[in-house]
Symmetry: none
Subunit: 152 residues, 2 copies
DNA sequence: AAAATTAAAGTCAATTAAAGTCAAACAGGA
DNA sequence: TCCTGTTTGACTTTAATTGACTTTAATTTT
């Protein structure tokens, strides 16, 4: 079995036993798994992405940690579906449609929708050239939707 | 738990019980916390800065003391002030400090702070190169704060 | 009153402890 | 073979801790 899979399994079992929230030190975990620390980073960035329903927080320095939180997957919601359906790129108009729709259907509060619209507005993204904005917008919105889902 | 956090918590509880104004001796506090005195200085300089809404006064020599006062202004003014004070560029750590502080002071709800953090996380901005992210982050956060202000 | 002593807080650089980044090397399957 | 995903390690950045040394203020002594 691949090291990646062992690490994934270990984290999954941690999430299981800790009710959806695993916190650990990268170096320690690497030690117990018998791999190099950056392997842990690799596993997280490839298997615990927001698309896959995980929120990852971390901190460097003394007392640093990595925390992975699972967003409820047993009740897959519209937001999750949406996150998955948003591709690599999303133009402003489509984003607007999505947000209006979510607000209309009360999946998001008006305030949340407003904030999200502000975050991905052309004005907010002005420092990035046009041709990169849609990709960026997709990334931001996906993260926002995941956060909205997990924060409640 | 980190020593830093214990000290922060202690000072926060002091501020709480003393209605926003904590006064103590550095050496005494270090003694009760079981740390070295300069640790107290470190905590203060990293967690109780003016940007974070605290006024710190102190006096050396015999009968010396450190006094920390929480200063608060009304939310809209504060938000606009903040927007103006954020320059062209903002690194992730500073953004985190700003958001945590706004949440702590109830200027923003925890949920709003969470959403904003998600919008400007490195993960959300992954599609643009590192060296452009801080500029972008500043733009997004400013728009978010203005939106939060006008939406309220 | 001046000087010496003592009791504080301030500063700063070194050390330690973590996570992040990135590119090169590698492995296995289409 | 070639492509994709994996593994590794060197290097970077960030955060916390510590202690030696400096500065300032009050108190005591001469």
């Amino acid at each position: 079995m691949r090291m990646t899979d062992s690490v994934v399994n270990y984290i999954l079992s941690l999430l299981e036993s800790e009710h959806g929230c695993a916190e650990f030190r990268r170096n320690e975990l690497a030690e117990t798994m018998g791999c190099v620390p950056s392997q842990i980073s690799y596993v997280i960035s490839s298997r615990f992405t927001p698309e896959q329903g995980y929120l990852v927080e971390s901190r460097r320095g003394g007392g640093g940690y990595i925390r992975i939180t699972r967003i409820q997957r047993d009740a897959p919601t519209l937001l999750m579906h949406l996150v998955n359906s948003i591709g690599e790129s999303l133009d402003g108009a489509s984003a607007g449609v999505i947000l209006r729709n979510l607000a209309e259907r009360k999946v998001l509060s008006l305030r949340d929708a407003h904030l999200m619209a502000a975050a991905i507005s052309d004005r907010a993204l002005a420092s990035v050239p046009q041709e990169q904005r849609d990709t960026l917008r997709a990334g931001i919105l996906k993260n926002l939707l995941m956060a909205a889902y997990s924060a409640t």
